[in-house]
Amino acid sequence: MRRNPLLLPACCLALSVLSCAPSASRTVTLAAGKDPTGQHQALLAEFERQNPGIKVRVLEMPESSSAQHDLYVTYLAGRDRSIDVYSIDIIWPAEFASAGWLMPLESLFTAGELEDFLPGPLAGCRYRDSLYAVPWFTDAGLLYYRSDILSRHGLKPPVTWGDLINQATALSRSEGLAGYVWQGQQYEGLVCNFLEVLWSCGGRVFDPAGRPAMDGPQARQAAEIMLEMLRTSASPKGVLTYKEEEARQLFTSGGAVFMRNWPYAWTISQDSGQGSAVAGRTGLAPLPSLNGRSSSACLGGWNLAISRYTRHPESAAKLVRFLTSVRSQKHFALHGGRLPARASVYADAEVLAANPHFAQLYLAFASARPRPVRPDYPALSDEIQLGLHRALAGNVTVRQALLDLQGRLERIAGMDR
């Protein structure tokens, strides 16, 4: 084959012209975890239609939240310019904002527009009176129960921790199942489970003066309640090794009466195709509380933030506004079962028809609270996980474990100042 001597240069020229063309339009890169809904593509295509000149590239992150955190820290500490919008866990805005990695987004919305977002997620996205992320979808702890077993015994879903412990102990004996399963392994999930009990006892991690409050009576009471679950065998000792999936599999295989879990477990529990043995026999309720107090679920959920190092702040802002809009959140609720972070979507007739359980969820979500919004949260969490597991796995007394924890939290909080 004879080669045309001009072919190569011609190709190069054509290529360079072609690659020039898209550079007239901007490419915004969104870093987000794996998309289980399969709806990212559809929505982003619509965004690109509405905004000619902006292309969106999605950079898929690892599924594990802590792996994602480590990766983000590496990108942002290295002032990476290739990512414009980050989808971040509700516990990271303060940490990232205090490091100066995120753009303040206060001006993106009017005060009236912000009112539609659920108060908990919004509080989690604020740091020192400015907004650094916008709630995209949310998550909160819920109580799952076997409605068939409860009604057979003439029981109502428990409202207090005492009720839950009594019912779980009695039913686990009479039914030969595990009673109440939750997330008790030494990891982030344990902090959520603990905070839910702590808040329902009227306690907090930090008192209003900003001092750690792990030596207070409420923290003591909360830890005692959790220990009581293990002592009475309301919860099997194995919960100390459970994360979400261990609890979920045991519950949906019909092996437990009660479970604390995030909303994702609902969809699976109702799907016999995914091997659920409890479809149609599961109920949802807000988590219990201490007598007469209100219960508070721990918030999870993901939020969109704009990198300080972005080259395209306007386009990135457009993308964030679009993805967090009522329209997008409704789309995710209808097609992916994702939980909206906007109150108005929960009132939408179409959404409620597709997801009747959203009405129940909204009750829990409206009072859900974020974990301590502080830049040093991951360090606090590490210590709380360790301190609480020492109390629960039983090598030290609750009193001693909490005193040690208090000392460690004081040191971290002091270091940060």
Partner: protein, 288 residues
């Protein structure tokens, strides 16, 4: 000497390799040493040199001391078991007249599975209610109540060591098998003629000739076990109550949860010194 006239040619030819090693080995090492001498956290961008403060802090840090002790105990237990089982497997494979290739391939399967995957599998196998281990023990009548393996320190360690040995014994077996195959068969014949029995042949022919191979396997496994991270991170995350937190796990928490890069680097450098110390000790023994 041909190149003697231009001595710089040596250096010139070596330069690319030296540069590559410098960039990928020495730079990170020296940089982490430098960081360990500062108070660098991700939030205070400007790092100040603080001398040996981070290293001083190590000695009063109970979490560091405990995780170091745990790391060394883990290495001692798991490497001993791996060497014994691996040696046994290797002798078995060496005796095989037929099917050695197939056996070797089968034995290698655990080694080929990524640790995170096998760790997750073991985590589920040791699950108290849904796990295969308790199901088997129950079927055998050994337990009546489900045992929460990973909820107690001692049983969690047992589970971790089983998972580690399951994965790495085949690797040891393969190295030792290679060593066994290098022992000339004439030596065995000569020993047999001299009246040596099975045990004496093993003791006086196999073992001395296998010594360098055993040391090599021991070195590889010790270094690897000292750095254990993924298996424990997946199976227990350091729990219960911090009971399985090893040095690398603690360093990771300090680096990425506490974002304390100065102290975290001191921790990783301590681990490096531990690994380096072992390597040097082995190397000197091997030379002798």
């Amino acid at each position: 000497m041909v190149v003697g006239r231009k001595p710089y040619v040596h250096g010139l030819l070596l330069a690319p390799a030296l540069m590559a090693i410098g960039v990928v080995v020495f730079f990170p090492l020296l940089y982490s040493l430098y960081v360990s001498l500062t108070d660098f956290t991700l939030r205070n961008a400007g790092a100040n040199l603080v001398g040996l403060r981070n290293y001083h802090a190590l000695f009063t840090d109970l979490r560091f001391v405990a995780s170091t002790v745990r790391t060394i105990a883990f290495v001692a237990c798991s490497v001993t078991a791996e060497m014994l089982i691996g040696f046994g497997l290797a002798l078995l494979m060496h005796q095989l007249a037929r099917g050695r290739g197939l056996f070797r391939a089968v034995v290698l399967v655990p080694w080929a599975i990524p640790t995170v995957v096998s760790g997750l599998t073991w985590r589920w196998m040791f699950n108290d209610r849904l796990g295969a281990v308790n199901a088997a023990l129950k079927a055998a009548g050994l337990i009546h109540q489900p045992l929460a393996w990973l909820a107690g320190s001692a049983t969690a360690w047992a589970a971790i060591i089983v998972a580690e040995v399951w994965k790495t014994a085949p690797f040891v077996a393969l190295i030792i098998l290679a060593g066994l195959q290098m022992v000339p068969s004439e030596l065995y014949e000569a020993a047999t003629i001299d009246g040596a029995g099975r045990w004496r042949r093993f003791r006086h022919v196999t073992l001395p000739l296998l010594w360098p191979t055993l040391l090599l396997a021991l070195l590889f496994r010790t270094i690897d076990a000292l750095r254990v991270f993924d298996l424990i991170a997946v199976m227990t995350g350091g729990g219960p109550a911090g009971g399985t937190e090893v040095l690398s796990l603690y360093a990771h928490k300090v680096l990425f949860a506490h974002l304390d890069f100065g102290y975290g680097s001191a921790l990783t450098f301590a681990l490096f010194l531990l690994v380096m110390g072992c390597s040097v000790a082995y190397a000197r023994r091997a030379v002798r």
